[in-house]
């Protein structure tokens, strides 16, 4: 019998637990040329801000061992053009759409999120309170439990569909921030955003990113992501979307076992754009071979020593 890959997050049903990670497939148009987006559980858009942003000057990506650094700087079309130019395409896709929102003030989050209320096809918001690359990228919220709770609460007042809080690994205690997001009213948590890092050109002695530092992503961050998801799963009752270096179906199974209910695939898309499709196929085969009927047979089932 075919395993049931459906997953329910805060009352919204997803066809499967694979999502694209924010910033890794724009607004979906390019990825749709590679495979039908209906194969995804959900598409998560690039971070949307109130005004359009060009981001940092190049170079703003750098290859690292088993991963990459990026300091794109929240380049995006802004909420107005997002609604007029990007949403019509997204509405036609037979997949769930999660809009990632970033802001530099509580008011910016409120303004953007309240406007997204009017488009029912946009199923959820993922609140980016953890971008490490721009001063105004929400990190000041995500680094503080108090401010996390405050901004989540403020958004919940104006936004009436489920809210995901995307958490940073660049904090002393991710569990503390997770609990604050829950207190504020977030229905789902997603983690981790990228880890702050840098790399230097030994010939010019300059960083390889004009921003001097960036966010580390890719397979190299997976062990950090798994440990943080495990910690949050053990201490917090909200469902978790795992993020951080998931590239293969084997990675996906690990994320599920430590407690992720769904997983976002990010950097892997750059190297293997069909990765989400291959992960779904592999996960299906794995569940069949292990005679697992539903994802709940896997989620959080790690057998610890």
């Amino acid at each position: 019998m075919k395993p049931d890959l459906r997953v329910d997050l805060a009352g919204v049903e997803f066809a499967n637990p694979i999502m694209t990670a924010s910033g890794c497939c724009g607004y979906g148009e390019e990825l749709a040329e590679i495979f039908p987006l209906s194969k995804l559980g959900a598409l998560v858009t690039k971070s949307i801000t109130a005004e359009p942003r060009l981001g940092h000057p190049p170079p703003r990506t750098a290859e690292t061992a088993s991963g990459m650094l990026n300091a794109i700087g929240l380049a995006n079309v802004g909420i107005n053009r997002f609604l007029t130019e990007k949403v019509p395409f997204l509405k036609k896709q037979k997949t769930r759409v999660i809009v990632n929102v970033a802001g530099s003030s509580e008011q910016e989050y409120i303004d953007i999120c309240s406007r997204l209320n009017d488009v029912p096809e946009l199923d959820m918001i993922e609140l980016n309170i953890s971008c490490p690359n721009v001063d105004e990228g929400g990190m000041q919220f995500g680094a503080s439990a108090q401010l996390t709770e405050k901004v989540v609460k403020a958004v919940k007042k104006v936004y009436h569909r489920p809210l995901i809080a995307k958490l940073s690994p660049n904090v002393t205690s991710v569990v503390e921030i997770a609990k604050a997001a829950e207190q504020g009213g977030a229905e789902v948590l997603s983690l981790i955003n990228s880890l702050v890092g840098t790399t230097i050109d030994i010939h010019t002695w300059q960083p390889r990113l004009t921003n001097n530092k960036g966010g580390l992503t890719g397979p190299c961050v997976k062990p950090v992501a798994l440990a943080m998801i495990d910690a949050v799963y053990s201490n917090c009752s909200l469902p978790i979307i795992g993020i951080g270096g998931c590239s293969t179906w084997e990675d996906m199974v690990e994320f599920l076992l430590v407690g992720a209910s769904a997983v976002q695939v990010g950097t892997a898309l750059f190297v293997q754009p069909e990765a989400p499709v291959k992960i779904i196929e592999g996960l299906t085969r794995y569940m069949k071979s292990k005679k697992l009927q539903t994802l709940s047979d896997l989620v959080g089932k790690v057998r610890k020593y």
Partner: protein, 264 residues
């Protein structure tokens, strides 16, 4: 925009062009027939210490045999790994990607400006134009390199019957100097030839060609290169600044841009 395919092909033919240059033919690749001059392929190398794919311009395509050729020079880790492949080895190809060159009118003179390992798309374009019945004498193939070892595939270019102008910095082949000097002289000396520029090569050469086109009011296209994590438009890593303001992605709006379009 041509939809890219993602397929595993085999290395069917490996030619060592000497001095670190190689020509590789891959197949079968179903989208081979869609690959135009200026399109590029994003290739995943079969090794764990090269994380991103690497971009290579299409040097020729054979739709019947479903084969594609790329030409590269050993430059860094990626190309070094690539140089160690053997015929029969599999390789993961994403492509064709980007926008190709627009062929000139048959009444125009195509002025090709190639630099070093930037030659593949222009070689492919010249071959395709001749195959399509363009007069080879209306193709001026200016090809610059540091020395004669860097001016590769000379026999292949000459065989087309085009005007071939090799230029080397050390004077070991053809005129001594930079490629853009003789290009400017040609355009000034032949006012009635309806020139159109097509350039691919190092950044300095592209900037010089772009400036030349603007100064002499000659239209044309330049193919840019940039480090590309994804190659299909989603990572926003390979941006350039447009003269009209704003950004363009080299992989998506490019790699071929009109002269004057990009702030080089």
């Amino acid at each position: 925009m041509t939809k890219p395919a993602c397929e595993t092909a085999l290395l069917t033919k490996r030619r060592n062009l000497k001095n670190g240059y190689y020509s590789y033919t891959f197949g079968p690749f179903r989208a081979a027939g869609k690959c135009r001059p200026g399109h590029f392929l994003h290739i995943k190398l079969p090794c764990s210490d090269v994380f991103f794919r690497r971009a290579f311009s299409v040097a020729s395509a054979n739709p019947e045999k479903q084969e594609l050729e790329v030409i590269f020079k050993i430059f860094g880790r990626g190309t070094r790994h690539m140089s160690q492949m053997r015929p029969g080895d599999p390789i993961d190809i994403l492509g064709p990607l980007g926008n190709p060159f627009k062929l000139p009118r048959k009444t125009e003179t195509a002025v090709m400006v190639a630099g070093g390992v930037g030659v593949p798309p222009l070689l492919y374009m010249a071959e395709q134009m001749v195959a399509k019945g363009y007069d080879p004498k209306r193709i001026r193939f200016f090809y610059g390199g540091r020395s004669k070892e860097d001016v590769i595939e000379r026999t292949r270019i000459k065989r087309l019957g085009v005007h071939f102008h090799p230029i080397t910095e050390d004077g070991s082949l053809g005129e001594k100097g930079l490629v853009t000097g003789p290009v400017a002289t040609f355009i000034k000396d032949n006012p009635g030839c309806k020139p159109r520029l097509f350039a691919c090569g190092p950044e300095g050469m592209l900037k010089a060609t772009n400036d030349l086109g603007l100064r002499l009011k000659v239209a044309g296209q330049v193919s840019l290169e940039a480090p590309m994590p994804c190659g299909f438009g989603v990572c926003l890593g390979c941006i350039v600044t447009l003269t009209s303001g704003g950004h363009a992605r080299v992989c998506r709006e490019g790699p071929v841009f009109e002269i004057g379009e990009v702030a080089l």
